[in-house]
């Protein structure tokens, strides 16, 4: 203890205090102030950058979600359009075939009708020709036998009416 007190050098103490105070003031002005300010501003910058990055990330996510939704909508729309087109195609095909069927039926029906008509006409003509032929034959036959043509014709008419064709 006394050795320490004996060793105590006031001069060294004086210089130490003087040097340290001058050093503190000098460093404060030329070093610590600028350094701490730069560190603070850098840290603020990093904080801001991190925050904006986070914001950007969330925005990106939103954007991505939007895109996804748009894509889904587009896909759904495409599907709908395709389905419609397919339906339309089928409908067109069905309609066309129905129409064709109808037309064909109609044509067939008309053909049948005209065939019937032709047949009828042909029948009638044939009947008439047969009748005329029969009459001519009968006239020739009966002329020999009958003198009264009129009476004979009525008799033949009556006979043809009884004789059913078909």
């Amino acid at each position: 203890m006394w050795k320490l007190i004996n060793d105590f050098s006031f001069g060294l103490f004086f210089w130490q205090i003087a040097i340290l105070i001058v050093l503190i003031l000098l460093l404060k002005k030329y070093a610590w102030g600028p350094i701490l300010n730069s560190l603070n501003s850098r840290e603020e910058g990093i904080k801001d950058a991190l925050e904006s990055a986070e914001k950007a990330r969330i925005e990106m996510q939103n954007l991505k979600a939007d895109n996804e939704k748009l894509l889904q909508d587009a896909r759904a729309e495409r599907d709908a359009i395709l389905r419609e087109a397919r339906e339309m195609k089928e409908k067109v095909i069905t309609d066309a075939s129905e129409e064709a069927q109808k037309k064909a039926d109609k044509i067939v029906a008309q053909a049948k009708e005209s065939i019937n008509l032709e047949k009828q006409a042909a029948m009638t003509e044939l009947k008439n020709q047969v009748a005329n032929l029969s009459i001519e034959i009968a006239e020739k036959v009966i002329r020999k036998e009958l003198s009264d043509k009129k009476e004979q014709h009525a008799m033949i008419e009556k006979m043809i009416g009884n004789a059913k064709l078909n």
Partner: protein, 383 residues
């Protein structure tokens, strides 16, 4: 003898200054015998100046721990030669007296300045008569009158060098930030330390008012750190192991703490809230004592740690010169390296602890107690 010489050279060069008085190997300097046979012992020591005895090494270590008026790099004890340069002596003794320490011839001669004789005795300057008589008081210390010694001693040189280096380092770092936001080169080592002091010492201990004290804490931290590291170099500097230096550092902390103390701080000292009145009266002197013990502990802790480290390293090296054989040499050399590495840790640790506790004391003085008036858990004991 030649080998011894080389070792001697090595010892001085590797670790610490060999100041002139160490070489003289004086023993029992404080008793009457030394007084009577002082001159004789002096003469004997000069004949056999090698540091290879127990007493010689004790002296050597003792003088290494002290300040010096010479900046010696090493000395040849046997030849009595010193390699270094004298430093200016500035005395205040009925007027300013400035002269070179070379006047003392490493303590062998008296310096006569303006008709007054001065003697350099164990690194201190005393006023003596023309014969250089030193008288001793009852404790064995020289009783001669001491002039006020403002000399630029080795420790002052070391502190100035450290200050200059610190200024260059951190001025450089500050300018570095103007160019880029990220430091380059040596600044990459300094920046984490600055951030560490701010985030792990100042902020948690002082709280929101930490900015005001950053300059003090940073300067003190790096000042102590650099001087501690200087102490590990072979230049033989022991600044932070000097009681005057640690006293100055602790005094600054003490004054800062007292001047930043708010009313809660003073109330805690003089009229502790939340305890019965008799306890308040008992606590008052304890708290007042605590005001002084805290910086006192700071002073002693740094001083004792650094001194102890230097003593251990020097003593281990000294053992090499006592044994002087091929087993002891490498063994103690390795021991010394081991202790030196520990000392490197201690250099950082002590700078950290001094700054941390300073911050803690400042924090206690400026803390706002409004939120928890009954909480005294922050009144930590002196570590």
């Amino acid at each position: 003898m030649r080998k011894k010489n080389i070792f001697n050279f090595f010892l001085g060069g590797l670790f610490i200054l060999v100041s002139m008085n160490n070489m003289n190997g004086q023993e029992n300097e404080h008793n009457d015998e030394a007084e009577e046979h002082g001159q004789e012992a002096h003469a004997t020591a000069e004949e056999d100046g090698a540091v290879n005895t127990k007493e010689g090494i004790k002296e050597f270590v003792d003088h290494h721990l002290k300040d010096s008026h010479y900046f010696s790099f090493f000395a040849d004890g046997e030849a009595g030669e010193h390699f270094g340069f004298p430093l200016p002596v500035i005395l205040w003794d009925n007027g300013l007296k400035v002269f070179s320490a070379s006047e003392f011839h490493y303590g062998e001669e008296l310096a006569e300045i303006d008709g007054t004789h001065y003697k350099l005795y164990h690194t201190k300057i005393y006023k003596t008569d023309a014969e250089g008589t030193i008288t001793y008081d009852e404790r064995g210390f020289p009783a001669n009158e001491k002039p006020l010694d403002f000399s630029i001693t080795k420790n002052v040189i070391a502190m100035l060098t450290a200050s200059l280096l610190l200024f260059l380092f951190f001025w450089g770092l500050a300018r570095n930030y103007k160019k880029s936001k990220i430091p380059t080169g040596f600044g990459r080592i300094l920046e984490p330390l600055v951030i560490y002091v701010r985030d792990d010492i100042a902020k948690p201990n002082i709280g929101p008012k930490y900015k005001k004290y950053m300059s003090l804490l940073l300067t003190v931290f790096f000042f102590i750190l650099l001087l501690n590291l200087f102490g590990l170099t072979p230049l033989g500097i022991n600044v932070t192991g000097n009681i005057a230096v640690t006293f100055g550092l602790a005094l600054i902390t003490f004054l800062i703490v007292q001047f930043s103390g708010n009313k809660h701080y003073w109330k805690h000292i003089f009229w502790m809230p939340g305890v019965p009145v008799p306890m308040k009266i008992v606590l008052m002197p304890i708290e007042i004592l605590g005001m002084f013990t805290k910086p006192f502990a700071l002073m002693i802790r740094l001083f004792a740690n650094m001194t102890a480290g230097h003593v251990v390293v020097m003593s281990l090296l000294g053992l090499i010169f006592i044994f002087q054989n091929w087993i002891a040499g490498p063994t103690f050399f390795l021991f010394t390296i081991f202790i030196s590495v520990i000392e490197l840790l201690v250099a950082f640790l002590q700078a950290y602890i001094f700054t941390l506790l300073s911050a803690l004391y400042i924090g206690m003085a400026v803390e706002d107690h409004a939120d928890h008036p009954d909480d005294h858990s922050d009144d930590l004991p002196v570590v």
